[in-house]
Subunit: 425 residues, 2 copies
């Protein structure tokens, strides 16, 4: 696709040479991780193509929409209410960085012992190899972790970055602060887009985001079948693309895929034999193109049947109530749904344990992998409490910490093999 | 002192054997770091003794006061308003852990790649070798960083830990949340102490804490003289003891020492020759008994003339207005002083740069050492902005990151030597 889009990338002030090197590595990785799977659902063709066109066709589409006056807004976290962006016909892009390729550049302005996701997205901006980063009008950051909170101050030197303050507890006072923050974000989006946010359009934005959440929840329900009708890798790819793709098209494609998966389930057909060890993954997000853990687990003979992560259930958990009749009511409804998400950034966060136990039960998981990106302090410290609770519930847990490099792949594989042996013994 | 206090320690359920090993290492370290300094102020004798009696006489005193019904409350951060503890005749103890000795035990329940201060205090509790931890009725934690925020959940399994939410920005909405938190802390202290907090006693508590801040500010002003009348090491030790000692006695002793220092200044007398390189340290706190950086710098031929840290200026910055006439007004005054502290936990935090530039100018510093404890993300990420600002102001900066071990001492020394050579060239 390179040739067809070079002019577009050049106009976005991208580093074409570096971008070529970056893109050059992806088809091989994609083919190894995805295309060599057996019995993939036919509906994955759409998502395979969406990935292939992520830096091409999708950017072209966004730039055309941008020309008509639609704002393009980058986000990094499930706590940013995309509904407000939809309400001004904005294009919301989840800008997480999941590639080792840009980490060394990120480390030029950030400490080395910082979460790879943060170093990666910073590197994507500095390296100018992410067309989304180049196309956005502004970014919305949040204070969900120390690393991101402080990195916005640096990123803001390169692209305007507005910061929402997510509270750290879940009391009434926190809900009040958070409702205020949602209201201030609304005003910021109005100011930047030059459009007032009206109740009707916000209601439509809520419906659009709810529909996407419903479709993803349906996909996750299909994964509860034994045998699983879709691999964890494919489900992860779909979740990752949710942050980039056109929401309505994406939702419709997920629903079509679910039709296919439900037919498979009715026929008792799946991607792994019945009896294959089923694992739930819980922990930190897995941003595109991070597939390492899923690939290691699924080539070791297990199947991943759910992710309690920000690129998993935390992204689509709950629904925004659709009964709001005014902008104010809609904003309160947005705030309430978000505050119900059980992220390790809150203290205490015991409800997350309940979520994991419920998800493991629903997905008939034989074990849980607790995965933290390196230097993610909220999830790594919380790991101990989760591990204890799962052990008490009789669910085997494997705790893994990793980064985006391939250096620890052999070591991870050994630990995953031993875990699977223990589970199937 | 061991024999005289063994019964007391046993009654506190301390691990006596481990405690012996821990205490055994301290006199040698103390002698090497402190007693071999030349021309120490005579007034340091009180503080040397306070350190020697930190696990002995001071604990005995606290336990006697506790018997009369005075609550003993542990804190870990300058954002916890000790004035509220004073208002119920409580004893406030700053429980920071600054020892490598307890880090391995802390790592049994915490990730290894976490701030040594957090691992150390957790280890002090688990090892049962800190009589303060054993004597407290409860702890007050706060949400100033991810590491501490999530560690309270674990520490609370061992000792009751109440958590205050410090906001992450400094807007009006944040001040509102923070005033609410101060009010909720007041209620918690009332509940736990069984005493109502009255305006008069709170006013007295504010005066007591203000007096201590005034004395410490006076000490820091004395350090601005050239030659410096006191070493950085000694000033650091005094700051560290502020968290443990009886506040009134401590204040009086600091003032006596300042009388002596001011006489020294009048005579042009100091601990280092005029012209000795003068350095300001900025960054993370240095909890007792962490003296590594100061010792390395001052044995390399420089003198440290100020610390923009939580065990330095951030501890005593500003004053609580004394004009409050009701509990509510006092609480608002407490909230306002604390929100004016420029900690890296806030975003943005540009005022910290102004603080550092002003302190460096006032102390006639030839350079600044930006010091971060390992894995302290707020201070390490913020380091880049501070470094840039100092360089623009023509102030040489050395960025150092370290932990509590002695493993990197030689490497730090090499970097400090090179920095001093550059400054004096």
């Amino acid at each position: 696709m390179s040739d067809a889009y070079r002019e577009m990338w050049r106009a976005l002030d991208m580093d074409l040479e570096k971008h070529d090197v970056f893109l050059g590595g992806l088809p091989g990785a994609f083919s190894e991780v995805f295309l060599q799977q057996e019995n993939r659902p036919a509906g994955m063709a759409y998502f395979d193509n969406a990935l292939a066109e992520a830096h091409g066709g999708r950017i072209k589409e966004i730039l055309e929409q941008k020309k008509t006056g639609r704002p393009v807004v980058g986000t990094f976290c499930v706590f940013v209410p995309e509904e407000l962006i939809f309400a001004v016909d904005g294009i919301s892009i989840g800008l997480c960085g999941g590639a080792q390729f840009t980490v060394p550049t990120g480390e030029q302005v950030l400490p080395r012992n910082l979460c790879p996701l943060i170093k990666s997205f910073m590197g994507f901006k500095l390296d100018r190899i992410c067309p989304y980063f180049q196309a956005v009008d502004f970014l919305i950051g949040e204070t969900t972790c120390d690393g991101k909170k402080k990195t916005w101050e640096i990123l803001n030197e390169y692209v305007p970055t507005y910061v929402m303050e997510l509270p750290q507890k879940k009391t009434e006072a926190d809900l009040t602060l958070w409702e205020g923050e949602i209201n201030r974000l609304k005003e910021e989006i109005e100011r930047r887009s030059g459009q007032a946010i009206m109740a009707e359009k916000l209601a439509a934005g809520i419906k659009r985001a709810n529909a996407r959440r419903t479709a993803l929840a349906r996909l996750y329900r299909a994964r509860q079948a034994d045998p699983a009708p879709i691999s964890g890798k494919d489900a992860l790819l779909i979740s990752q693309l949710a942050f980039f793709d056109d929401p309505e098209r994406f939702t419709s494609q997920v629903n079509s895929l679910c039709d296919e998966l439900e037919e498979r389930i009715a026929r008792g057909e799946g991607v792994a034999w019945k009896g294959t060890p089923r694992l739930l993954v819980t922990g930190t997000p897995m941003a595109l193109p991070y597939w390492k853990l899923h690939h290691l687990v699924e080539t070791a003979g297990a199947v991943i049947v759910g992710e309690e992560t920000c690129t998993g259930t935390r992204y689509f958990a709950g629904q925004v109530a659709e009964d709001g009749r005014s902008v104010d009511e809609h904003l309160k409804n947005l705030a309430r749904r978000l505050m119900a998400i059980n992220c390790a950034c809150f203290t205490p966060n015991k409800e997350r344990v309940e979520d994991i136990l419920r998800l493991a039960r629903e997905a008939k998981a034989d074990g849980v992998i607790y995965f933290s990106l390196q230097f993610c302090q909220p999830f790594s410290v919380e790991g101990r409490l989760v591990e204890k609770a799962l052990q008490e519930a009789g669910l085997p847990v494997l705790r893994l910490e990793s980064d985006y490099s391939e250096e620890d792949a052999a070591q991870l594989k050994t630990r995953i093999d031993a875990f699977l042996e223990m589970i199937t013994a």
